[in-house]
Amino acid sequence: MLLGCVQFQCAQETKHEGIILYLEGIVNLQLSAKTVGLFDAFYNSVKPINLLQNSLELSAPGKLSAGRSEFHFELPLVCKKEPRILYETYHGVFINVNYQLTCTVKRNFLGKALTKIQQFCVQYKPVPLSEDSKKVVPFSLSPDSLQKNASAKERLSMPRFLITGRLDRSEFCVTTPITGSITVQHTEAAIKSIEMQLVRVETCGCDEGYSKDATEIQTIQIADGNVLPKLELPIHMVLPRLFTCPTLLTKNFKIEFELNLIVVFKEDYTVSENFKIVLKRSAGPLPSKVTTAGR
């Protein structure tokens, strides 16, 4: 249920032809030209999915008295047709889940209608993380563990190193930081920096024409310079609120998240390791942006 109030402040008595509230929830999908090809992108551009469409007449045509007048309203937030669920608000590159409330004041045929749009956020109710997701995800990086497509010769010329670490779990809650640790066991080449990159993977479309894109959300440095071997470095990444949402898998599109661990060596060698992570909402929102964004 969406509760609210519309306020009008009029200097003098004003005539109008009705005040209407529209409630709208849309998933905008966009195919990237990169993965599908320009041509496909034009034709296969996926239709937006309507999650929510509702309207409410606050007032029949009439007059607004001078001074302040308020209209309180309540709107049900229910998705009636497929997929019968309201996704969380999300702003990505190719996928946007957006909710907005539009208030329109109709006026006589000479005057243009007045509209005001207000976005709002939708969040899932917290669900606890599953038990088996609490398992630690260990990982290790060494020349041998690197992508197999590097030739054997290339691998031989690489400096030897071993970096181990763990992620504290495979599923994370969007409101708590991603934690884990990393330890440089030994390395021949000096390390310049160790970074953790948060990546979103957005998939649009279904079977025949779909596009899958990974774009960076944020990168955070974990180590600066050639850190001491055998020293456990903590991983601590706060998830940005607007660019993350619980992992979303639907028929038409998917929003997934991955972590890239990037180790940059002195000679600008870069070694990276990819982790798939699942984001969920397991805890209530911290005092969030919602309260301030509206102002």
Binding site: L228, P234, R241, K289, T291, T292
Partner: protein
Amino acid sequence: MANLEWVCVPRCYEVRKNRLTGQATLEHPLKQHTVTVVDSNPLSRALEGTDPLSQFARQDDELNDPLSQMVTEFDLKPKRRERDRTEPEDNTLQWSSRRLGILNRFTTNEKLSLSTSFLVSAGSLDGGNESIKAQTVVADKTKFRLEQLDHFDDGSMRHMMDLTQQEYIQRFEQLKQELIQSWHNDQRVKALKIAIQCAKMLADTTVLQFYPSQPLEILPHRRHIRAGKGSCPGYVQNWFYKIASIRELLPRLYLELSIFKCYEFLSSSREEYERILQRLTHQLRGIADPLVSSYARCYLVRMGVTLTPSKTYIRENFADLFLVYPQIFRFVARFNLHPEIVTASSYLQLYAPAFDYMLLCLVHKSELHTQDILNECKQLKNNGAILMSVLSSFKSEFIATNALEFIALINASETPGISKSQLLRSLGSCVSSCAPLQEQRVTFLKAAFETINKLTDPNEYINCVETWAVFVSQYFTINEVNRLLGELNTRMCLGKAYEKHYSQLQNILTRIMQNYRSIELLLIQPNFLPYLDLFQKESVRVEVCKNILSFYKQNSEEYTCDAVVTNALMYLGKILNDSVNALSVDDERRQIAQLINVFIHKVHFGNDLEQQLSFYVEARGTFSNLDAVYVTLVHAACKLATRNRSKSTGFVKACIAYCFITIPSIEAVQQQMNLYLLCGQLALQHLCLGQADACFEAALQLVNELPAATVDFDGKPRSLEPFLVSYMCNILATLIVVPDSPEQGVLYFLRLLLEVVGRHKFKADSSAPSIIYLHSLDMLYVQSLERFPYHIKGVVSNDDLYGHDPKFLQEVNNMCAQVVDAILLQLKSLGLAQQQRSQAELALQLFLRIVKYADLERETIAQLAVNLWLLANKAQSQLDVKTLPQTLRSVEILYKQIKDASPTRAQAIAKLLLRMRSS
């Protein structure tokens, strides 16, 4: 009016002295009365139970240190919270006080480079922003901001090279202003960007020497962010999110720390703070450069202490620090190979402020972790640097209890870049303030000096000893001190090492003197004077001697008779005396003379007066350059003479002879005259008439050498005439009892005096000669009396000598006439100079004396008196209103007094009064 016939009349009335009545009192009459207002503030009373002021007073009575009392009082505060608040306060206070010191210590002449986009002109900055805007497709504001954050470093960055330190600091000042301004202008993002840039600069270690100063310059600026933050939790949370998305590790951590206080708005539990602090501590491991991370840790601690009294996170910081510690020495090893960048020791020095501060916070009001740290220290390789900080930060009580352990640690420490001498030096100052246990001291000292003596570099050696001197002198016997001095002598003589270390040598000496109980004992040590010989430079030597003497002045016993001590002091005094020359300033002379005087006063041989005198003779020979010392010596000899108890005058004569010889060497005529008079009086007292005569004659002969004026302390000339007048009065009073010598004529000295006064050139219109004449008249009148008003026991004065012989009286009368003539001449010259007022006053003075002393039955005298009275009356308008009536009244009183005793004289006075009235 020449050849006035003067006849003195006998005194025929009793001289009465009206004494003031004394009154016993307990208070000094000049003491000011103070009113004590008792503070009866009900609040403070409620807090403390009693009145705090009176409590202060009471505790002061108990000889409590007021400071420690303040501390206890703070602790007494009922609200715990308040104490918590004071705790961090004194820590931060310490930090800000350190700040300046550190800034001054770590400076550089190298050029610094500063890269920033905020110093470019506003126009180009805007341009840069617009281009960014064009690129960003996403309309979302926050997205844009984040992009901007990422963009700024390659956007409109401008490198500023070749800045001096001053300019560098200036830039920061500019940045700071910019930061505050943009904060106030609601450009929060810009403010944040500036802050990030500042933090980034902290990672720049290219100019190593300056590094410790950098954070200090930079850090305060970001505090403004915090200050600007509102208390709305959502708002604060938002900021934390923003900071958490900063890409680089160091700025992210620094910024989070700088607004660490804002966690206050989010949660209030202490555990929460500690958890966050711990996480930050761990995150700091990611910074590889040990120097950068040390300072970051230091900053963490600094922010932490303001919020939580817990020490665990500090402890963890140290645990991490110890892990990284060997890394430091990898750098050290590198710098050892390239000393042109920075030397190893100065590199290690850079860490000191951070370590010090962290340790200080760790042990502040908590003893929990001290032992741990020490133990870990032991296990650490190259533990010199941390040990150094431990020594400077830990409580000296702790160090004292573990002194032996420390010394073992130091002896074993072989840290490149930190020499043992540095460590020993710190340890020395620690044990000086708080000594180890009594039974450990000897072994401790032995162990320490074993190492100290092994130091080959004299510079290191002397620096060590400098701090140890206090300890040795405070807690050990004189033998130990002597041995230390001897050791120093031999070490410092090698290759003339002393030349470079005067200040340290001086310090050592001062400390020993400050702390050793008896300065006399010190003076007689065989190694003490040789130690002085180390000071070859004249000025330093003089300084040292002065120092010793002033310590002697303050600390010595009241008297000394030890020949060795006196000799040593004589030696010191001689050095000082020799340093005085024509170029010396007056003040310098005065100081030196004062020091020597104190010493002379302290030498006391008890009843052995002869030895005392011979000491004075020796002193006179030694301190030939100092007037003031001579004056003291003369006084001392005079005093000595009075202590003579034996019947024979031989010793007294010797003393006076000593004075008589000494006085002419004094330069100031005034002083000479005073001293001659004093000696003369003394000689008279001891019946050494010949010497007395000689003294008086010498004194009178000096009168004409007396300059007209001396220069005052303020540089103003001061006339010596008042002095001369009072001096003459003094000598006249003395001369009354001096018997005439058979070789000279009657009243030889008075004649001499009058002659001298007649020759002396007074200022024009000066009243000085007339006053002297008037007093001479008084003196002469006394001579005419049958019995003098006072005598010196044993001295046969003129009254007995001449037995009121008429011939003598005639002589006296003649001289009276001469004196009156001289006064009349003065009157005349005053009249010519139109000085009516002083003329009238003088006339009245003379008039009174005539009435009192002279035979008024003689017509000439009576006529003279009447004339004088008339002369005075002429200037009546200029005189005080009361002067004439009072004069008249005193004549009447005289009349009444002598009416019965001598009716004829009374008759004469009555006649005179009649004449005065009629004329």
